[in-house]
């Protein structure tokens, strides 16, 4: 469902240092009283991107979006959209439209009037407005609902009206605040797909704010993870998930097992970490920017650990440990095992249920070996 890159990998604009960003956020800080809602954020977003700002509540993602829309003025720093400085331009003068979390549909206007509102402000002739409204209603598949008032629509329909209204003026940049937040799970999955399709068809740059990591992963070309007013990491969904740059990012996206360890071998082509928690050494098959005896963390995703009853081969006398199955959560497509290690640490492991009704599957209270590849985990220093 993720947005399929339209361009060959080597021409993704954010990978090209010479590419000119469409939205340039430079050292933006926003203070409310003494509280830093956003602190010193710099961010470049390229044309036709679907960029997700992901973070928990209070991470500053919404404030950043509101500064892009013009509802808040940065305390310091600048915001440039399409080469023009927009830092203190009023919202009604920006080439930007926003889809609100609550949708903010005008309750006293019907669907057509809601969509036409922005067009009327531009003083377009009546016929042109009517054509554009009809076009948008078709785009969001609400042709027969033009005369309805917002309160006569379902949540999903309102969401689509809000999208149509935000797209009506052909904004260069569309801001979406938790666009799918108010929908139930099934509707959300369908709508997500439609949103990406619309974005691809129109080629508008989308900036989406969300707290839902699944939503961010499936929608975005790139994700900016925010934490306490700062950008913790910017990257493509796979980078964020597979190569997190910090404990925060690793823990925020998906589930993760984190173990503490000490560097005992630091070579250019490999690193060996001794972890008392895991009860074994961790052999990392690539160089890491660290020093011997340094304390660091190693993070591994539950699906990257294999379980077995027999002790597996361990070429470097590492990456194998032993534990007991404490809990099993059967999810249908896969099972989640909670393994209690000898150190008392618990690891979460997922295994795909490839055999139907497997009678020989690993069960409660069994002693099992855990193993992983030498590049399966991430070494984190912060």
């Amino acid at each position: 469902m993720a947005k399929k890159p339209q361009l060959a990998i080597d021409t993704r604009p954010w990978r090209d240092p010479a590419a000119k960003p469409f939205v340039r956020i430079k050292n933006v800080t926003k203070k409310f009283g003494d509280v830093f809602a956003v602190s010193d954020v710099s961010l470049d977003i390229y044309k036709s991107e679907l960029f997700c700002l992901l973070g928990g509540s209070g991470s500053g993602k919404s404030t950043l979006l509101r500064m892009l829309a013009g509802f808040e003025e940065p305390t310091s720093g600048s915001i440039e959209i399409d080469g023009q400085d927009m830092t203190s331009v009023a919202p009604y003068n920006r080439p930007v439209n926003m889809m609100f979390q609550s949708y903010a549909l005008f309750p006293h206007m019907n669907v057509e009037q809601n969509i036409a509102y922005g067009l009327k402000r531009d003083g377009l002739p009546k016929g042109e407005i009517a054509d554009r409204v009809a076009e948008l209603l078709t785009l969001v598949k609400l042709q027969d609902y033009g005369q309805r008032k917002p309160h006569q629509l379902s949540g999903g329909q309102r969401q689509r009206v809000a999208l149509a209204r935000a797209l009506a003026k052909r904004p260069k940049l569309l801001l979406l605040d938790e666009p799918l937040g108010a929908l139930d799970k099934k509707l959300r999955e369908e709508t997500q797909f439609e949103l990406v399709k619309i974005q691809e068809t129109l080629g508008v740059t989308f900036i989406v704010v969300t707290h839902d990591q699944e939503e961010a992963m499936s929608l975005a070309t790139r994700i900016g993870v925010m934490n306490q007013g700062e950008i913790a990491m910017i990257g493509e969904p796979t980078d964020i998930y597979e190569f997190p740059n910090s404990k925060f990012v690793a823990g925020f996206i998906g589930s993760v097992n984190m173990a503490e360890g000490i560097v005992i071998e630091d070579e250019p082509d490999h690193v060996r970490i001794r972890s008392a928690e895991l009860g074994c050494d961790i052999y990392v098959g690539h160089g890491v920017d660290c020093a011997p005896d340094q304390l660091l963390w190693w993070a591994i995703r539950p699906e990257k650990i294999q379980l077995s009853r027999e002790k597996p081969e361990s070429p470097f006398d590492a990456n194998v440990t032993k534990g007991m199955v404490e809990e099993i959560g059967y999810l249908g497509d896969m099972s989640v095992y909670q393994i209690l290690l000898e150190s008392g640490k618990r690891l979460r492991v997922t295994q795909t249920n490839t055999v139907r009704g497997n009678p020989d599957s690993i069960t409660w209270d069994e002693e099992v070996y855990l193993t992983w590849g030498d590049s399966s985990g991430s070494v984190l220093t912060v």
Binding site: G70, F71, P91, F100, A104, F106, P107, H108, Y117, K169
Partner: protein, 320 residues
């Protein structure tokens, strides 16, 4: 099995209310009926019956004696006779005074309502948009005048506007000759607007404070400047508040008696004063009653129509 016995719920406590309820149920009265009956009885005794009495008086004619009107029902030689006089109502249309007083009352009430709206709307808007910690203080200031006597405040106004009152003295300092304000329609407008302003502000405030700020942002986001946002979003959405506030000012202002008598002059014609004069000066109770009933009809019917319009608006706003 004994362990099960001990887990039985304790017997329900005998609360006084349950006993009352049971007692009422025994004679076929449910608690719900009781709750509805209380205001119904109150309104019947203190509103409907007096109104019918007034209506009855309006159909009699003046006589000297006590009571100062003829009875509707007379018994003579074993026959009961019902005498209804429509002369009072006919008089209302034939005597120019009454029509002129009605029209003048409506005019004064209408203009006062418009002025109250123009002054009250920005105040209500400002209070609704004020920071949380200020809002209650500002509301308090709006309500504060109610803590002093209404009569006292009207007298205070006359002190302000009289020939050597505060305003004229202030004008005198700048060498401006005194302005006649008392005993004019102007003073009546000042009095009514001053007195009824809170009744306009409060319903407007309760409406405006609910207005979703995101709607205003959405409007700005779609290219509307602040004035356009106000006209297209804020104003239509606050219509129920405007209607409620206007009715709370307009209805009592029509029948206002104290303000025109204390601040107005002989030329200020208002139906409340006419009514007073009929009742106390001419002791013509039937005529006064007819004036009151006619005013009720003249005011109630448009108000009911307005109320219906407001309900329609509110139905539209519901469950947004």
């Amino acid at each position: 099995m004994s362990s099960f016995d001990s887990e039985l719920p304790p017997p329900p406590r005998r609360r006084p209310w349950t006993m009352v309820e049971r007692g009422l149920a025994a004679v076929g009265i449910s608690g719900k009926a009781l709750v509805i009956a209380a205001p119904a009885i109150w309104l019947t005794v203190f509103f409907l019956v007096p109104l019918l009495v007034v209506f009855g008086i309006s159909l009699s004619v003046k006589q000297f004696g006590r009571p100062p009107y003829t009875p509707l029902l007379t018994t003579e030689g074993g026959t009961v006779q019902l005498t209804l006089h429509l002369s009072n109502y006919l008089r209302l249309f034939t005597d120019n005074l009454y029509v002129a007083a009605y029209l003048s009352s409506i005019k004064i009430a209408f203009i006062s309502t418009v002025i109250t709206l123009i002054i009250g709307y920005p105040m209500a808007y400002a209070i609704a948009r004020a920071p949380d910690q200020w809002r209650n203080i500002l509301l308090m200031l709006v309500i504060l005048p109610f803590w002093s006597s209404f009569l006292l405040r009207v007298y205070a106004l006359s002190g302000f506007m009289s020939g050597n009152g505060v305003i004229n003295q202030l004008l005198g300092v700048f060498g401006i000759p005194p302005v006649v304000m008392m005993q004019t329609d102007f003073a009546v407008y000042v009095g009514i607007v001053y007195t009824y302003l809170p009744f306009m502000i409060l319903p407007l405030y309760t409406n405006l404070v609910k207005l979703d700020g995101a709607l205003l942002e959405a409007s700005a986001d779609l290219g509307a400047r602040p004035l356009r946002t106000f006209l297209s979003i804020t104003l239509p959405l606050s219509m129920p508040g405007i209607i409620a506030g206007s009715m709370l000012v307009f209805i009592p202002a029509i029948g206002e008696f104290v303000i025109p008598s204390l601040l107005g002059g002989p030329s200020t014609l208002m139906i409340g004063r006419v009514l007073w004069d009929e009742f106390f000066a001419n002791t013509n109770w039937p005529r006064a009653a007819a004036v009151a009933i006619a005013m009720l009809v003249a005011v109630v019917i448009p108000i009911m129509l307005l109320q219906r319009a407001q309900d329609a608006v509110q139905d539209n706003e519901m469950s947004k």
